[in-house]
Amino acid sequence: MKLLHCPLNGPRNISEFTYGGEVHAMPDPDACDSSEWAEYVFFDDNRAGVVTEWWCHTATSFWFLADRNTVSDEIMRTYLPAERFSGLAAAPPDGEPSS
């Protein structure tokens, strides 16, 4: 059983985690064309090499990111989503202030 290092809980059996898919930047849903949107919703890169993935420690519902080499299955690094997502700026605008 593989070990995965959770940034909150430390190394745990990978059966304690839920896989959340590859990390993709969402295109602007109001500006992109349909094929670009479909690409974002339905396709993964499935790259041979290092990909960034969502993982959730199920018992604590704690989401984090993992850089994993899909060829060797080596997990290079796990880290907090805050490192990549700075907040609503990264998401499409609401046109409304978030108070």
């Binding site: 909150l8 809980n9 059966s15 304690e16 199920t58 018992a59």
Partner: protein, 229 residues
Amino acid sequence: MSAYPQNSLRRSQLYRWHHEHGAHFANIANLVVVNNYDSERGDGPGLCDLSLLPRTGLKGPDAIRLLQSTVDDTPMEPNQSILTSDDTRIARLSLEEFLLLGSVDFETSEIAMVDQALAATSGMTYSLPRADSHCLFALKGRDSPEVLAKLCAIDLRPGWFATGAVAQTSMARVNAIIIQHHFAAEPGFFLLADSASTEYLWTCLLDALQEFDGGAVGLDSFRTMQHKE
């Protein structure tokens, strides 16, 4: 029989089990709890249903401030816990989340103080109904880590799992929080899990205890230990 759970508003999911296994109930502050059973285990590890023990939880960016202004000590790191001078066990579950467990003599006052502070706060601190969301058991005795080794893939042996250490993990396939705690001189753990899984987990633990000649114990077992000290 004056103290019987049926007459109480708050009832442990296990009161029928306790009754069928010769429990003697007592009333502590309108909570009906098990003092002891007709026959309790000898030297083996003991499992105690603390589902009605006062406890609470809080989280949010301001949680640490609220806690610091209410209790005398707080744990520094996630997955650590401390014991306050009031005998409250405070576990830090993440940077912004805390869990408070009352002492097994049901005499903690800090839980109520924190609950009051939570009700009054206007900051970004959010209460968590830990007394209802989770069941709470105490597992105590030298063999406790071995008992849990049948249910849980975390190394809980003393030396590896320090005093007050916290593990949030899967136990018998349900999410659980395990907190190392010394019940007087006896090493052991507080175990918390989804309250709807109370009976399931109780049964799993009792089954695991068999090999070690352990079984269910009531609150008296904590009292006698204190007398021994």
